[in-house]
Every structure is written in structure tokens, then in C-alpha cells.
Amino acid sequence: MKPARIGLYAFLLSAALFFMLPLYIMITTSLKSMDEIRNGHLFALPLAPTLEAWRSAWSEACTGASCDGVRAGFWNSVRIAVPSTILPILLGALNGYALSFWRPRGANVLFAILLLGAFVPVQVMIYPLVRMLAAMEVYGSLTAIVLVHLVFGMPVLTLLFRNYYASLPHELFQAARIDGGGFWRIFWHVMLPASIPMLVVAAIMQITGVWNDYILGLVFAGRDNAPMTVQLNNVINTTTGVRLYNVNMAATILTALVPLAIYFLSGRWFVRGIAAGAVKG
């Protein structure tokens, strides 16, 4: 092996270690008992591994007044993520399709305005959105949070699908027009089935984004629908009694599990979809 190769591997290995270290500490700590943690050997493997902290984090940890763990937050997040993934993707695909193939008058202006939305910080829009949703009498509900995710997902999703459709031959659309397809039929029967790689990418991006969101969930979802991230924050910031580091670690891993699993299961698709958008054919 050449020295350059050895250097390369040494660098890659240390970089990997650097990024794996926090995960290692989280996993080992979550498997330890509180007594063992107090001994202070942060890097040591657990002497008597136990899943007690995980069970507790899932169903017993206290979030403010109630002590039900992050379980409730998990199901809330699922209820938020499912519609907040499907609806924005369908609408984004529809937007991209209309912009690419039907080219309505002023399409480019509309698209530019939509893209501008991607550059405005979320925080700026929170207050106006709160007032708008309150006026619509949906503030603090599942509808509100899904609507907010729909709005914030639109610029990037439209961009993704517009570019993907622009990479398909325009003749495909023309052939479908001659076959008598209208706006909706061409979308459902020809374009949407042809965009599976992009749908997968968009789904991964949207699920991850929605699942990891904290601020929007906190502000718009309301107390009963608080997503897992909000519950996790409550578990960790509960100040009464002892800080249960093992439970906190387990709760954090549980919360991060869904996006992690999605990346592991779909890595191949993800790359394929990104490439499909970038290269023609």
C-alpha cells in the first residue's frame, strides 16, 4: 500500500471516528444504569447492559406534568408526517408538471416568486402565519401544522419536480396530447408513474424534514398534537429531580430513529433519484 493510500485511510478513519463518537456515547450511556453513569467513565462499555432506560424513555419519562414517555409524541409525529409528506409531494409534483409541460402565462414569474419563498427564513413568517391560521380558526391543530408544512415544502418540491420533468423528453407529453390525454390524465397516468425516483427522493426529504422539525411543531401543532421533538425537549428539560442521562439518551435515539432508518433503507434510491434529476436519460 502506498503512503498516500495509508494517509487517505487514516484521514477517513479518524473522520469516521469523530462522527461516530457521539453516537457511541449515546448508545453506551443509554444502556447503563444511573449508578454506573455517576462513576464518570464516559467512554467505558456498560458493565451490566440494560434496556430499562429505553423502556422508561418510551413509556414513563416525565414531560412536564404527565409521565408517559415519548410514546405519545411518536404517534403525533406519525400523524403529522404522513399527510405532511403525501400532500406537499403531490402538490409539488403537480406544480412542477404544470410549469414544465403546460407553461401557463406568467409561469416563470410564478416560479420565481415561489423560489423566493425558499430564501425567506421560517422565523420571519411565524407570526403572520399564526394570525392567518387563527383567523381561519384552525390554529393549534393537526390541520394547522400540516398546512404549514405544505406551504414550507412547496418551493423546494416544486423546484425538484419541475427540473425532473424538464429532463423528460417533451415529446412524451406531446404523444400523450395526441392520444387525447388532458391535464389530469397525463399527470396521473403518464407523468406521476414516470417520476418514481423523484417521488422517493422527495418523500425522504419531506419525512426527514417534517420529523426533525421542532419550531413549527411547537408553535402550530397545539398541545395535543405536539410532535416527538417537542416531547423530547420536554423530557430533557424537565428540571425536577435527578437528570436521568440514560433515559435522555435513549429518548433522543428513539426520536432520531425514524430518519436514520429511512436513510439506511433508502440510500440507494436516494442517490439514484438525485442522479436521475441531474443527468438526462
Binding site: 423528453p169 415529446e171 406531446q174 404523444a175 400523450a176 396530447r177 395526441i178 392520444d179 387525447g180 418514481i196
Partner: protein, 347 residues
């Protein structure tokens, strides 16, 4: 089967007038080829007949009905595209029947049409496959099949063979010609390939910069080109052009080169001679020096230098030439053309 009648058709794309007041009549059952270099507006014209591009003036009549404002699906046309444009997620069967299903045709009738067209194009074994599992030639046959099942009055082809390799292209070209002979339908075919145009067409329309240069049968267009552009565009190697003078006695003179023509001057003129109408013969009246010989297998193309004029000629016999060889030749004046050097029009 229908005729197509274009009257004073104008098309404007992005503010540019691509086609201006174009008139063209396509007869029933005719195989009309639109031929021209890329950007000459031939594809735009075809797309406007299909209804995929809006026209800005004039009318498009198909079978006597004005179709200028009618939806593409209701114009009674079938179209084949260069990129095949097959629906990637549908099987061959579904691809071909998509339009019929949209039109709400009964299943039995769809099956009957599929059966007939699949048989005609040898697609029966491929019906259950997806486009990705087909070769280029098979894909284009499916695309042709998809147009045929529509039982259209007019079939439109937009450079359908351009994406295929040379061998497949000749095979499919022959199939297309046979198809037209059997069906007798009206077909309008766009290509920039003069061989396709010559072999397939009943009539050729040569276009340049959105304007029709000449309309005629392949032999008319080839033998009697209307102007310098048409003369130079058709034929490979292309026609030899010699600038010179036509005198009062009907002799065309350009330096060492002199040919007796039937037209008389005096005037400036351009002589156009096809390479196959220059014959090497020992007692030929003209002399030239060989500057290059290109063997083509069945024949060879020999380039002659005749007093500064470069002439290509086609030699059928297997004879070898060395650069600098002095040869005598004759120009077949009856088949040569004369053009006006200013307007480019045939005299």
C-alpha cells in the same frame, strides 16, 4: 385517408415569425416528405399540423375540415416522434392502446386493433414488455404501432429514424415504405436525411428558413432543382457549381472549361453538374488533373482540378488514379443545370 390543405399558414414562436404565409397541399394517400437543414421550420410545420404548436394565421384543413383550433386528439392524426416518446411505465400493449382507452373504445374492439397492428409490425411477442426492455428499432416500431392503432386519416412522422443506427435505419425505412404501399394512407414525414427523402417520398418539399424552396417528385427535385439551395442540398457528393459566362451562341465558358448549352446569353451564369454526369473518357473535350480519389466500394469519387475549378465526378469502373494524373472528361450538358448567380434561381 384525407388530404391536408395548408393556406397562408403563419407560425410565430417567441416573437419570431418562423413560418410566413405558407401554402401547401398534401394529396390523399400521398407520402409527402418535408426536407431541409435543421432550423428550417419543417418540424415546426409538422407540429402545427398536429396541433402541438399554435398557429398565428392562416388555416389547416384536414379532410376538408378546418382544424386550426381543434385539439390534437380530434384532428384524426397519428404521430411518431424521433425520441419514440413511449410511456415508460406502460407495457407495449398499454402504450399502444392508451389513446383508444381514453377515447372509451370497447375492450373487444381495442384488442382487435392491437392484434391487427401488432401482426403488421411483428410486435406480437413484445406486447407484455416495457419500453426499457426493447431495442431502439423495436421501440420505434411500437411508436409506429401506437400511431397506427388510431386508424388516423393522416400519419405524421418527425425524424423517426434519426436515433437509430445506420443498418436499422435502412431496414425500418424499407418497412415504412412497404407500410405506406399496403395502407395507402396520407403520410407527412419530416427529415433532414436526403436519402430517406428520395427513397420514401411521393413528393418532396424542400424547405429553408421557413420557406418552401421547391415541391416535386424526388426525380424532379433531383434532376431539375429550382434554385442553388435545392441543387446543393440534394445529392452526395453535392452538385458541382461553376461560375462563368453564357455567350450568345449558347456556350458556357469559365476559364479552361467550356460547355455547349441549350440556353443562350450573353449573361453571367452558374453551371450546376451532378458528379455522375461527368464522364471520364479518353476522347473527352475537357482536361483535368486528379487531386483526390475516394473509393466508396461500389464506385469511387474522383476530384478533378480543371483550370482552378474543383469538380467531383463519380467513376463506376475499377480503375486506380494517382494524384496529378491528367484525364480527359466530358460534361453531359443535357443534364446540367444553369442558375442565375444573383437570385440563385434556375434559368
Amino acid at each position: 385517408m384525407s388530404n391536408v390543405d395548408l393556406r397562408k399558414l403563419s407560425i410565430t414562436l417567441g416573437g419570431n415569425a418562423v413560418i410566413r404565409e405558407l401554402d401547401l397541399q398534401v394529396k390523399e394517400g400521398e407520402f409527402l416528405v418535408l426536407l431541409g437543414p435543421s432550423g428550417c421550420g419543417k418540424s415546426t410545420l409538422l407540429h402545427s399540423i398536429a396541433g402541438l404548436i399554435e398557429t398565428s394565421g392562416g388555416s389547416i384543413e384536414i379532410g376538408g375540415k378546418d382544424m386550426s383550433r381543434i385539439d390534437p386528439s380530434e384532428r384524426g392524426i397519428g404521430m411518431v416522434f424521433q425520441s419514440y416518446a413511449l410511456y415508460p411505465t406502460m407495457t407495449v400493449e398499454k402504450n399502444m392502446s392508451f389513446g383508444l382507452r381514453i377515447a372509451g373504445m370497447p375492450k373487444a374492439q381495442i384488442a382487435e386493433r392491437l392484434e391487427r397492428v401488432a401482426g403488421m409490425l411483428h410486435l406480437k411477442e413484445l406486447l407484455k414488455r416495457k419500453p426499457a426492455q426493447l431495442s431502439g428499432g423495436q421501440r420505434q416500431r411500437v411508436a409506429i404501432g401506437r400511431a397506427l392503432v388510431r386508424n388516423a386519416n393522416v400519419y405524421l412522422f418527425d425524424e423517426p429514424l434519426s436515433n437509430l443506427d445506420a443498418k436499422l435505419r435502412t431496414d425500418l425505412r424499407r418497412e415504412l415504405k412497404l407500410l405506406h404501399q399496403n395502407l395507402g394512407s396520407t403520410m407527412i414525414y419530416v427529415t433532414h436525411d436526403q436519402v430517406e427523402a428520395m427513397t420514401l417520398a411521393s413528393r418532396i418539399v424542400v424547405m429553408k428558413a421557413g420557406e418552401i424552396q421547391q415541391v416535386g417528385t424526388p426525380s424532379e427535385v433531383y434532376e431539375r432543382p429550382a434554385n442553388l439551395f435545392v441543387a446543393g442540398f440534394l445529392g452526395a457528393p453535392s452538385m458541382n457549381f461553376i461560375h462563368g459566362e453564357l455567350d450568345a451562341l449558347g456556350r458556357f465558358n469559365a476559364g479552361a472549361l467550356s460547355v455547349g448549352m441549350s440556353a443562350a446569353g450573353p449573361r453571367k451564369a452558374v453551371l450546376g453538374v451532378r458528379p455522375e454526369h461527368i464522364a471520364l473518357m479518353d476522347d473527352g473535350p475537357l482536361l483535368g488533373k486528379v487531386s483526390l480519389a475516394e473509393p466508396m466500394g461500389s464506385h469511387q469519387v474522383v476530384w478533378l482540378d480543371c483550370g482552378g475549378h474543383q469538380l467531383s465526378c463519380i467513376v463506376q469502373e475499377a480503375r486506380s488514379f494517382a494524384v496529378g494524373d491528367q484525364v480527359a472528361f466530358a460534361i453531359d450538358a443535357r443534364r446540367a443545370c444553369l442558375f442565375d448567380p444573383d437570385s440563385g434561381k434556375a434559368l
